[in-house]
Symmetry: C2
Subunit: 192 residues, 2 copies
């Protein structure tokens, strides 16, 4: 089973945020994508510009208009074709009324309506998965925690702000087979 985060993994959150920030605040200092550190951009932008970041991600259209990350839609279809159970597994920004409906619109537009039946929206990703089969979560967040003991192995989707983390890492969607296969094989050896 493959669980796949949305922002920063299939939807280009950081690119959308930076482009919108520079368009809205052309004279403000900004953080280039390669220099992003820490999961939350608002923290790196600090007290002077953090609130401007918060405002952007709560604006109508922000989630809807994110670009797809290169290769993601094709990789997801390939995974289905070879027989994986594939689900999107994304959290909502509770402080934005646009976040959830626009994430679903995004899925329908970029992946097709059938993927709405493969989209899980959850505040806690440790609740989601299947302990009885090999299971991974592909997520750019450095550490994914919650109330349960997760049934998945976390595969990091490569980002400038998660370079310090250890563990399996997917740097390009073109490599998904090579990265996931050894993770699944290790789980099978543990005879889950």
């Amino acid at each position: 089973m493959v669980l796949i985060d949305q922002d920063g993994v299939i939807a280009d959150f950081e690119r959308g945020l930076l482009d919108t920030f520079r368009a809205k605040h052309p004279d403000a200092p900004f953080v280039a994508l390669a220099d992003r550190r820490g999961f939350y951009a608002r923290e790196q932008y600090g007290p002077a510009w953090g609130e401007a970041i918060n405002e952007i991600i709560r604006t109508e259209g922000f989630y809807r208009d994110l670009l797809a990350i290169e290769g993601a839609p094709a990789a997801l279809e390939e995974m289905l074709k070879v027989g994986h159970d594939v689900f999107l597994c994304t959290s909502q920004l509770v402080s934005s009324r646009w976040c959830v409906p626009e994430k679903l619109d995004w899925v329908e537009h970029h992946l097709g309506g059938a993927w709405l039946r493969r989209t899980v929206i959850t505040p806690d990703k440790t609740l989601v998965g299947d302990r009885l089969q090999p299971c991974v979560l592909i997520d750019d967040r450095p550490t994914v925690t919650g109330v349960a003991s997760p049934p998945w192995t976390h595969v990091l989707f490569d980002a400038p702000y998660n370079k310090e983390e250890r563990g399996p890492r997917l740097s390009s969607w073109a490599d998904w087979r090579e990265v996931l296969e050894p993770v699944f094989a290790a789980q099978r050896r543990q005879d889950r």
Copy 2:
């Protein structure tokens, strides 16, 4: 851990559907709540009126305006207070653009904004839960299936259309302790 379905368990879907149907089609035959059979009302309403049912549940405001089922909000707060991990676990009607945002509005209005951080929206409930602790899903659907082997025991929330099903059953929110405790105890004996 307690997972709780939304429609028919905490939100009175059947009452909302019947009231709306009778208001919109005052001369049509209708099915009294006690006579509902089968999980899907549209099927019981048959070819003549099934499409009218479909139309109602896809209308703006339908999910938002459902009444709370008696005792549900209080029971959910009690469960939290005694230390259970409690999450709403609901599916979306993919054919309605109003369903998901209005379900979230409903949660915020009837349970409070903090419950948005306890709301999981999933097309497949067998993916959700925690196999490493006692775990139940309270759901009115006669059988809950999906791609995974569910980590929960299904506790039926009593409804006229699920009387035939066997297994633990919650008939009133006032009884939640008495119904859940033996289920948790049985799971603990299985040393999960």
